[in-house]
Amino acid sequence: MIYYIAALLLILIGLYGVLVKKNLIKIVLSLSLIDAGVHILLIAIGYINGKTAPIFSTPDLRPEQMVDPVPQALVLTAIVIGLAVTALALTIVIRLYDHHKTLDISKIRELKW
């Protein structure tokens, strides 16, 4: 139960960072915090009390003694894709800094009229 609360607080703190902060690097950092929160929530939903990891390491493990393996496969893919998105977003931040010489989003107003 405490895992749900920890994941929910991480998501809310990350959302606060995206909404309120003005520095571009801090916004991307908060996006990666939201990612970590969602992954913890998914794995915590797939947990069953008293069961063990889904690997048939010894031949006498029966399939009724294992936790749910499907959320783990989903989160494995999601972590790698989160890294790819973060890396690409940071490259865009570097190019924005080269062009505008500032990292403050309230000063980069070329698209507004």
Partner: protein, 228 residues
């Protein structure tokens, strides 16, 4: 004003999410007997792998793994295109101290061997292609930070990456050639818990491990150059 509005919106959102999550008890057995139960029961007999998560990622949902490898490739290509400058400067201004240089030269082959072990035994122990590739990229990163002019040949890295990606697709097309579906497990299954078992799964994970390792190394090298 903006902060108060954001906190109010987040309080409403948090209240409703907590109300939904409290109806979902923690740790109750709610396995879907047709999906997760079938994966757990049939993995050893139908695919021969001992690691159920590996057999889901590579065998039952192998097409999604092909999409993930493509997304990683797109991100690395996009970064290489955006960070292109006409001339490349040096990587850093000075070498690290003697202890760091000697220690990293000692640790580098051990880290490479650990990464290769993790992605070769992906169907027996926890691990797999993505984990092994990330460990290999961390080993190369250690050498990049310690030595000022440690060079990797970008043409070799690019060739390794394209060959490994093509091997993944060719293994899938071989499934079509033998009359089954794309990415079907067509090689003999073998005895579970031995190294040469599980058909096509270790071959796919070895290709993915090489590809991810070479890709992340080239990415880090491109980013670390042109430091002002």
């Amino acid at each position: 004003m903006r902060k108060a509005l954001a906190v109010f919106f987040l309080a409403i959102l948090g209240y409703y999410m907590l109300a939904v999550l409290l109806n979902f008890p923690f740790g109750i057995d709610h396995l879907n007997p047709e999906l997760a139960g079938a994966y757990l029961r049939d993995t050893v007999s139908k695919t021969g792998a001992a690691n159920v998560v590996t057999s889901i990622v590579v065998n039952y949902r192998g097409f999604d793994t092909l999409g993930e490898v493509t997304v990683l490739f797109l991100a690395a290509t996009g970064m290489g295109a955006l960070l292109y400058k006409g001339k490349t400067m040096g990587r850093s201004r000075q070498n690290a101290s003697v202890i760091v240089k000697a220690g990293s030269r000692l640790l580098f082959p051990l880290i490479i061997i650990l990464g290769a072990y993790v992605f070769i035994h992906g169907h027996l122990t926890p691990g797999g292609g993505f984990q092994g590739g990330a460990i290999i990229a961390s080993g190369f990163l250690l050498m990049f930070i310690s030595y000022r002019n440690y060079h990797v040949n970008h043409r070799i890295l690019s060739n390794v990456e394209s060959t490994a990606g093509s091997i993944f697709v060719i293994i899938g097309l071989l499934g079509l050639l033998y009359g089954a579906t794309f990415l079907e497990n067509i090689m003999p299954l073998g005895i579970p818990n031995k190294l040469f078992s599980a058909g096509v799964i270790p071959l796919i994970y070895i290709a993915v491990g090489f590809k991810v390792g070479a890709e992340l190394t080239a990415l880090l090298d491109t980013m670390l150059k042109t430091v002002k």
